[in-house]
Subunit: 417 residues, 2 copies
């Protein structure tokens, strides 16, 4: 992609009312646009990163045997009344409206109810189980406050997976496999070493729930990390009986701020019972289907990546989720030898299947470098007069700042698609 | 994909309240689920077809130099007031709600206003132009009636592209290129021979607008087709002055029912002026940006494909948008020679990169064939005892019913990915 054609440009300033670091940087770098508090559009750079995160999540969901579908934003009152979650006294983030044809309609802030209700049309026998399905859905939540940028929005993308199994034993298999898949996802997006499976308070159905917490100073949660075991305990269940159940001692734990980047729930048969999702088991008895639900806020995860890795110059993307792999910067002027060499290299990189953002703009070197630092593509390759003379290119690692002089062949070998 | 694991199963009956042929078939074949009138979830088969249509549209938009982004569903009242389209007397399909933090909020039924308003932050000079951007967005429209299945829903996916150009001449270039791109899209999804560039009534800014109409008995529009010229005239502008302007005679035209599958608008500078989107031209004058808007209802297009190609046995997908390319049907029983041969063939096809739905279920041949006909995958390959003995496979074309006996090598050659 030629940067001269890229929509958008970087900006000096974020909107004055934007208080979160992630959104400030993402707006300045041209990844997102603020429509209103907690509501952001994803511009070409932002959409590329978002789609890369989704692709990683999708691969891991598919590897679990889960199948992708997409539910609806518009929601029926009757379905949510069955679980007593239509009432705004119970769920305070509903957006609701009226149908022109008459009656109430809600906008999906979650999808456990409609997807489980839908399953009554497809699951009736143990032969139909297990079923694992997932979606990437835009959720709408009428949050009173929205000050965390894309880490907690009023409109955001969530990957939600649901498991429908015959019993607790079958449930445990997919539940454990999903934990592994989640940990792989966090490793793949670069957060592996600071993200922990965390014990948190359970819902109506289980003693604990599990969440995944990424250590970060801007986190809203406090967790106690056991680095040796690779787990954490949410402050809300930091009690002696819990510690003893998990077999850890208080002095082995490290207190830290953290942000939740995923959560998984075991509903047992309770929600299925409320929504009349029963199946005939091998003994011929009608029993409720065992439900598990597994969420990752995909846009939130992007916000966490922006927030956690940024430095004082701008964004720093891990290679797996960067909008482009290489930022090729020409220091040439209109048609001179350097510009022609840069154009040539752009073609070579493109033909090799490398994802390249090519800064072909007529700007001073300093402006180009500042933009590159702000945008945060992992590897910067500069084509200047010096490089040409030496027959090698200046390659800078955005994260460490390390500079190397290497040949184009080495670049192609190192960064091949 | 193994059909034994596929979510969902086919169904004998569509919901009683479903009156449209496309939704009846898509529900029975397991492509979509009806959440409420005009509101459908896309199940794994349906999502695959939808994504294939999107991929074709995306390729053609990218080829125009348009860049993908994604705007928001939540909409600000102030933006729409600037063009006088917030008022429900002016736009009767709004869903609206209240923000918990105070104030009104709308749900995006269209995105011309917010995207044009956003551009005020990015476009200020002729050097910034042209800009072409597009999105695949879920639109919400509070339609009073919704009886056309996914051809006209309350929640549906649209591809909307926007062109921002310096003047009418620059606009005309992208407008004409977009017409060509649209015609390529209809050809690629299989509707080329029955889809026509159609002259319809203009908006406030132009004498005509252009739409694309696919001939179909279930269409809501009446058009007059000039097959020789490959164009049509919407009944609403079927007047002598229009005919003479287009240089066609009334007796050359063929009256037909048709359904609109795309539309494009030239807004001139009017909407930009309302939304304060001005730029400095080369002469240093502040002038409004020229706006074009280009829509394709992607889910509608899928509904049209279902509706137009279906026969009395079920759906019939063109190969380019089918959820799978090949439907491999095993007539074997648990582990017998035929079942093993089918399993083997499934592996061979998968390894060759073919998209295969493998009916490995323990059902009678008749049930499998009926399901295959209903689902509508273009090519059916049957592995039975006869085929094994002959060393050839029975290959049936879903659209024509033509049957051939051919070897697996020929199949791989013919249907390679």
């Amino acid at each position: 992609m030629r940067q001269s054609r890229l929509f958008t440009k970087t900006r000096r300033e974020a909107p004055k009312d934007e208080v979160s670091k992630n959104a400030q940087l993402l707006i300045r770098a041209g990844f997102i646009h603020k429509e209103m508090a907690g509501v952001y559009a994803y511009l070409p750079l932002g959409l590329r990163t978002l789609e890369k995160i989704k692709a990683i999540v999708r691969e891991e969901m598919d590897a679990l045997g889960a199948q992708e579908l997409i539910m609806t934003s518009l929601q029926r009152k009757e379905v949510w009344e069955k679980t007593d979650r239509w009432d705004e006294a119970k769920v305070d983030v509903w957006f609701k409206s009226k149908l022109a044809a008459g009656g109430d309609v809600g906008f999906g802030w979650s999808h456990e109810e409609p997807i489980t209700e839908m399953m009554t049309q497809y699951l009736s026998s143990y032969r139909d189980l297990p079923v694992y399905v997932y979606q990437f859905q835009t959720k709408l939540r009428n949050e009173l406050r929205a000050k965390s940028g894309i880490m907690r929005g009023r409109e955001f993308v969530m990957k939600d997976m649901y498991s429908y199994t015959a019993d607790a034993a079958e449930h445990k298999k997919i539940y454990d496999a999903a934990i592994d898949a989640y940990l792989r996802i966090y490793r793949r997006v670069g957060l592996g070493d600071r993200t922990f499976l965390t014990f948190a308070s359970g819902g109506a159905f289980t003693e604990f729930s599990h969440e995944f917490q990424t250590l970060s100073d801007v986190g809203e949660d406090t967790v106690y990390v056991h680095r040796g075991r690779g787990i954490a305990i949410n402050e809300e269940v930091m009690r002696d009986d819990v510690l003893s159940k998990l077999g850890v001692a208080r002095n082995e734990l490290e207190k830290a701020k953290a942000i939740e980047v995923g959560n998984i729930f075991d509903f047992g048969g309770a929600k299925s019972e409320q929504l009349s999702l029963f199946f005939k088991n091998e003994a011929g008895e009608n029993v409720p289907v065992h439900l598990g639900s597994y969420g990752i806020g995909v846009t939130r995860l992007m916000g966490v990546l922006a927030e956690v890795f940024a430095d004082d110059k701008g964004l720093v993307w891990p290679a797996t989720v960067a909008p482009f792999r290489i930022h090729l910067i020409s220091l040439g002027k209109d048609g001179d030898e350097v510009a022609r060499a840069a154009e040539d290299l752009y073609e070579v990189f493109k033909n090799a299947g490398l994802e390249v953002l090519f800064d072909d703009r007529d700007l001073r070197a300093g402006e180009k470098f500042a933009d590159a630092d702000l945008i945060g593509i992992p590897t910067r390759v500069v084509v200047g007069r010096d490089a040409l003379a030496k027959g090698a290119l200046e390659v800078t690692d955005r994260a460490t700042g390390a500079v190397e002089l290497i040949t184009r062949e080495e670049i192609l070998r190192t960064y091949h698609a």
